[in-house]
Symmetry: C2
C-alpha cells in the first residue's frame, strides 16, 4: 500500500500519483510538484510486481545464448543488456550449452516468468521449442536461422561479404593460393561459412583446390592440426582463412611450431574478431562478426513486435575485415 502513503503525503489520490509517475499529461503543474516532492521524501519506488500484474507487461526480456564460456557471446550480451537497461528493461539471461532440450526449458522458464519477449541467440534452434512462445504470444527473434526466417523474425549475417573483403585484401597482396580451415560437416553454422567462402572465392575468379581445405573442430586444437595438414601440402597455400578465430589461433601456433613465420612466410585470417586475436603474436587480421549490431537489431525487432509494428521483422548484417598483422604480401621466395 505504498503508493497510498505517497498519495496521503501529497494530499491526492493514488490515481494522481500514478499519473505523475507515468508521465501522463493533464495533471496540474502544482499537483505534479507536490507529488514529486512526496515521492522524493519517501524514497518511493513503485512495486514492479503490482505494476506487472496490472499491466500485463513485465519489462523483462529473455536472452538465450549457447554458451557463456564461448568468448563470442560476451559482447552480444553486453550490447543487449545496455539497450535494455536504457529502456528500463531487465534481462533474464540463460544459456543452452548447445543442448536443444535445454533451449526448450529455457524458453519455457522464461514464458513462465512472463517475460515480454525473447531473443534466441543460439546457433542451433528447433522449431518445436519456439512454438511455446508463439502459443504464449511472446515475441521472438532468432539469429542466423535462414530456414526459420520466413516464420520468425531473424537477424542474419551475410558471411560472404566478410570473405569477399578478406579475398580483396589477399589478392591485393598478391596471394592466389588460398587455403581454408573448415568446421565440422554437422555444424550448420560452420557449413554456412564454408559455402559463403566458396561463393566469395568464385566471385573472385579463384579455384578451390580440394587439398587446401582442412577440417577442424572449431577450437584451437583443431586449428592446429588442420594447419599442420595445410603446411604439409606441396605446393602449399600462401594464405589461409579459418572458419573461426579459435582455429586461426591454432593455425598460428602450428605455423610457429613448424618455424614458418607469420605473416612473412604465410598469411592467416580468422573470423569473428574475438578478444583473443589481439592477444596473440602477431595479432590476427580477422573478419569481425558484427555481434553488437546483431544484439541491437534483435532488440529492435523485439521492441517493434511489442509495439505491434509489423514492418521490421528481420535484418541482415555484414561482417567486415579488420586489419591487424597476420597478413603480408606474398614473398618472392615462392615465386
Amino acid at each position: 500500500m505504498d503508493i497510498l502513503q505517497v498519495a496521503k503525503r501529497a494530499n491526492v489520490s493514488t490515481a494522481t500519483v500514478s499519473r505523475v509517475i507515468n508521465g501522463f499529461p493533464g495533471v496540474r503543474e502544482k499537483t505534479v510538484a507536490r507529488v514529486r516532492r512526496a515521492i522524493a521524501e519517501t524514497n518511493y519506488v513503485p512495486n514492479p510486481n503490482a505494476r506487472s500484474l496490472r499491466m500485463g507487461r513485465t519489462r523483462l526480456f529473455g536472452l538465450i545464448i549457447s554458451d557463456v564460456n564461448n568468448p563470442f557471446f560476451p559482447e552480444l550480451i553486453d550490447a543487449f543488456e545496455a539497450l535494455a537497461s536504457a529502456e528500463g528493461i531487465e534481462v533474464i539471461f540463460t544459456h543452452t550449452n548447445y543442448d536443444p532440450q535445454r533451449l526448450h526449458n529455457c524458453i519455457r522458464r522464461m514464458i513462465e516468468r512472463s517475460v515480454d519477449a525473447i531473443a534466441v541467440m543460439t546457433s542451433e534452434v528447433e522449431e518445436e521449442s519456439l512454438r511455446q512462445a508463439v502459443k504464449a504470444n511472446v515475441p521472438l527473434v532468432l539469429m542466423n536461422q535462414r530456414k526459420l526466417a520466413a516464420k520468425y523474425p531473424n537477424v542474419s549475417v551475410e558471411y560472404a561479404t566478410g570473405f569477399g573483403e578478406a579475398l580483396d585484401h589477399l589478392l591485393a597482396l598478391g596471394h592466389r593460393d588460398i587455403g581454408f580451415i573448415a568446421g565440422p560437416p554437422l555444424l550448420s553454422s560452420a557449413q554456412g561459412r564454408k559455402e559463403a567462402f566458396k561463393k566469395a572465392l568464385k566471385a573472385h575468379g579463384l579455384q578451390l583446390r580440394p587439398e587446401w581445405i582442412a577440417t577442424g573442430d572449431m577450437r584451437v586444437e583443431g586449428g592446429r592440426t588442420a594447419m599442420a595438414k595445410l603446411l604439409a601440402c606441396d605446393p602449399r597455400p600462401t594464405a589461409v582463412l579459418a572458419t573461426n578465430d579459435l582455429m586461426a589461433v591454432g593455425a598460428l601456433q602450428a605455423a610457429h611450431a613448424a618455424h614458418i613465420r607469420v605473416p612473412k612466410d604465410i598469411s592467416i585470417i580468422g573470423f569473428d574478431d574475438l578478444p583473443i586475436v589481439s592477444m596473440v603474436q602477431p595479432p590476427l587480421t580477422t573478419i569481425r562478426h558484427p555481434r553488437r549490431e546483431v544484439a541491437e537489431q534483435a532488440f529492435d525487432c523485439l521492441q517493434q513486435a511489442l509495439q505491434g509494428k509489423k514492418n521490421k521483422t528481420s535484418a541482415t548484417l555484414h561482417p567486415h575485415l579488420v586489419l591487424r598483422n597476420s597478413t603480408a604480401p606474398v614473398g618472392l621466395r615462392r615465386r
Copy 2:
C-alpha cells in the same frame, strides 16, 4: 483470473488449487488428483507477478560482476545460474565495468526490481552502494572484500595457499630463482595477490630479489613487457609467477620472442586458470581460482540469509595448482 479456471474445472476453490500447486499437506488425495488433471489439461502456469505481489518474494536473485568480457567471469556466472535454476530462481545479471557509480546503479535497479538477494562479485566495492541493500533489507554477499567482511557476508579466496603450492612445485623441480610479475599498485586485488606471494615465498625460506619483480597492467601486453624486463636481468630467474593468467600468456610470448624456450629454459606459472591458458603453447601451469566454488558459497550465503539462518555468513576458499606444461626442472645450463 486463471487459477479460477483451473478451480472451476476441478470443482474446487482457488484456495485448494493453490494448496496443491504449493505442495501443502492436508488435501485429500482424490482432490489433489482432480486438481492436477485440471492443471495439466489447461496447461496452467501460475502468474509469478501475482504470486510475488502476494508473497513479497520474487525468486529473483541479482548477480553483479565487473566485466562480461573478462574471461574470469563466465564460469562464475554459469555456476551461479545453474544453482539458481535448480531452485526455481531466476537471475538478473549486470556488470559494472569496474565503475563504482555503475555498481551503485546496478544495486538500485535490482532493489527496484525487488530481487530477493544480491551477489556482488566485483573486485572493487564501495560501502555506500551496499547500504542501499541494507536499507531495503535485501541480503548481500561479497567476494574478496576483507575490509567489509566484518559487516557483510563475504566469500574470500586465500591466495597464499595457491602460491604455496606453486612454490612447492617449483622447489621440487630445483628452482630457487623465482621472479614475479605483479599488477598495478592501485589495484587492490593485485596487491592482495602480491602480498600473498611474498608471504608464501617467506614461508618457503626464499629471498625476494627486488629486480625480479616486474609490474604489468594485468593484460597480455603488460605481461609481455614485464617479462622482457625479467629476461634482461643477469642473473635472471629460472621461473616466473604471474599475478594473473593474461600476463602469464604475455610472459610466454615474450619468452618466445626472445627465443627462450618454455619450459626448458624458463618455467612460467599463471594465476586464475582461464580457458585461454590451455589454448596457448605450451599449455600453462597455473593456480586455479576457485570461482565455481565462489559462486556456490555465495549462493548458499544468500539462501541462508533468506531463511533467516545466521550461521554461515562467510566462507574462505583455497586456490590450487593445476599442472600443465609450462614448468620443468631447472636446466643444467645455468648451474
